[in-house]
C-alpha cells in the first residue's frame, strides 16, 4: 500500500462512517427515565441556533485552511473552552458588563471566523511579519508560536461565549451525564463537518469555494450582530411576546399540563435575544403537540 493512498482511503472511510451515523435513527437501549431524551436534548442543543452552528463549522474550516497543527488544535480548544464556559454559565458566574455581551461575543465570533476563512488567514505568517528583522528561520519559528497562540486565544474566547450561553440556557430535570455526552458529541460533529469541508482546500476551486463559505459565515455573523444591536422597543418586545389565538390555546394547554415549559417560555421571552427562540418554541408546540414534554429542551 502506497503511503499516499492511505490518507485518501482513511478519508473515504471517515466520510462513509459520518454518512452512516447521520442516517442512523435513534436507539433507546437500557432505558432509564429521561436518559434517551437527555442525550437527544444535549445532542440537539448545539444545533439550536445558526449563530452557534456557523461559528463551530467556521472553526473547523479555518483549522483545515491553516493546516497542521491548527487543524486539530482549534477544534480541540473550542469544545474544551466551550465546556468551561458552560461550566461558568451553569454556576451563574456574572459576566462583566452583563449577559448581553455574551450575545455580542457569539455574533462577533461568526463574523470574525467568517472573515478568517474568507481571507484564508494564516496567523503564523502574519505573526512572522512582526519579526521580519530576524533571520527567516527565527522569524518563521517565532511567528508560528505567536500566530497559533493568537488563533487559539481567539477561538478560546469565542468558545467561552458560546459555552456560557449554552450553560445559561440548559434545562433542569435532565440527566447531566447524558446531556453532556450528547452536547459534546454534537459540538465535535459540527467541527468535524467544518474540517471535512475544509479538506477541499487542497484544490484551487475548493479554496475559492471555502472563501465563499467564509463570506456566508461572516454575513451570518454580521446579521446576528445587527440583531443584537437593535434597541428593544416596547412594541417590538410586545409583538415578539404576544401570542396569536392559536398560540394562546396551545400555551393554555401547556400551562395546564407542563407548567415548567410555560415558565421556561416566560423566562426566554424576558431576555432580549431570546424572543425568536420563544416564538420558535411556540411554533414547535403547534407542529408537534405530542412532543410537549421535550419542548423545554429546545431552548
Amino acid at each position: 500500500m502506497k503511503p499516499s493512498a492511505a490518507p485518501s482511503r482513511s478519508l473515504f472511510w471517515f466520510l462513509a462512517g459520518a454518512l452512516f451515523l447521520l442516517a442512523a435513527p435513534s436507539a433507546s437501549a437500557h432505558i432509564l427515565p429521561g436518559e434517551p431524551a437527555s442525550f437527544a436534548a444535549g445532542f440537539k442543543h448545539p444545533w439550536s441556533g445558526w449563530d452557534h452552528i456557523i461559528a463551530m463549522v467556521g472553526v473547523g474550516i479555518w483549522g483545515a485552511q491553516i493546516g497542521r497543527p491548527a487543524i486539530w488544535m482549534l477544534p480541540v480548544t473550542f469544545p474544551l473552552v466551550m465546556a468551561f464556559g458552560g461550566f461558568l454559565g451553569l454556576i451563574h458566574v456574572p459576566v462583566p458588563g452583563g449577559e448581553h455581551n455574551i450575545e455580542y461575543g457569539i455574533a462577533i465570533s461568526g463574523l470574525l471566523l467568517g472573515l478568517m476563512v474568507l481571507g484564508d488567514v494564516h496567523p503564523n505568517r502574519l505573526a512572522a511579519l512582526l519579526f521580519k528583522n530576524d533571520d527567516p528561520a527565527t522569524a518563521a519559528r517565532k511567528g508560528k508560536t505567536l500566530g497559533y497562540a493568537l488563533a487559539i486565544t481567539m477561538v478560546g474566547f469565542f468558545g467561552l461565549c458560546h459555552g456560557y450561553a449554552h450553560g445559561n440556557e440548559l434545562p433542569d430535570n435532565e440527566s447531566g451525564l447524558y446531556y453532556s455526552i450528547g452536547f459534546v458529541i454534537a459540538t465535535g460533529t459540527l467541527h468535524a463537518c467544518g474540517i471535512t469541508l475544509g479538506l477541499i482546500h487542497r484544490w484551487p476551486a475548493g479554496q475559492i469555494a471555502l472563501r465563499l463559505v467564509g463570506a456566508a459565515i461572516a454575513c451570518g455573523g454580521l446579521f446576528f450582530l445587527y440583531q443584537d444591536m437593535q434597541p428593544e422597543t416596547p412594541e417590538a418586545h410586545a409583538a415578539a411576546a404576544a401570542p396569536t389565538a392559536l398560540h394562546s390555546s396551545v400555551g393554555a394547554s401547556l400551562a395546564t399540563t407542563h407548567p415548567a415549559i410555560t415558565s421556561t417560555i416566560a423566562s426566554a421571552q424576558s431576555r432580549p435575544m431570546a424572543s425568536t427562540t420563544a416564538i420558535s418554541l411556540q411554533q414547535s408546540a403547534i407542529r408537534n403537540p405530542d412532543s410537549a414534554p421535550r419542548l423545554s429542551l429546545i431552548i
Binding site: 492511505a6 437501549a29 486539530w72 466551550m82 458552560g86 447531566g176 446531556y179 459540538t187
Partner: protein, 210 residues
Amino acid sequence: MPRRFLHLLLALLLSLGLPSRADAHLVVTGLGPVYDGAGHWCSSPEDIIPVLALAILAGLRGPVAGRCTLFLLPPAWLIGGLFGLSLPAVPELSRPVLSAIVAVTFLVPGILALSDLPIPAAAVAAVAVLLGLVHGVLDAFGLRAEGLTTTVGVLQFLGMAVATFLFIALIAARVISLRWPWTRIAARVLGSWIAAAGIFLLGWSLNGNG
C-alpha cells in the same frame, strides 16, 4: 473433495441432532450475575467513558503503561466493589455529588490523554488504580441500592472486571498500534471530548442537578 463433503454433511447432521432445548430470549432465567455484571458495565456510559479515556491514555503512553493498566484496573475495580459491598451501610450521596465524582473521573484521564504528557507508566497505573477503586465503590453502592445480595454482587463484579479487562485490551492495543500521526491526534481529540464532557458535568453537578 466429495468424501470431505460427505464427512462435513454427516458432522452437521449429528450436530443438529445433539443439542437439547434452547431457551433464548432469557426473560425469566437471565444470563446469570456474571453476565449481568458485564452487561451492566457495557451499558453504563459513566463506567465506559472514563475507562475509554484511560485506555487511550495508556495506549498513547506505550505498551508498558498499557500492560500496567490492563492488569491493574480490573482488580482495582473488583477490590473497590468488594469494599463497597462490605460496608455496613451505604453512605447517603446526593445525585450532584455522584455526578461530580464521575465528572472528575472523566476529567483526569481525558486531560492527560489530550495533553499527551510524557508521564511515566507508574503514573498511568496510579490513575488506573484510583479510577478502578472509585468506580468499583460507586457501582457497589448502586448494586446495594437495588437490593442485591453480596454473593450476587461479587459475581457481578467479576463480570465487570472481565468486561473492563477486555475493553482495555482492545482499545489500548488499538491506540498503541496507531501508525499515522493524525490517528494519534484523533485519539487525543477523543480524550479532549471526554474531558469537555467532564467539565460540563461538573458544572451541572455544582448547579445542583445531576
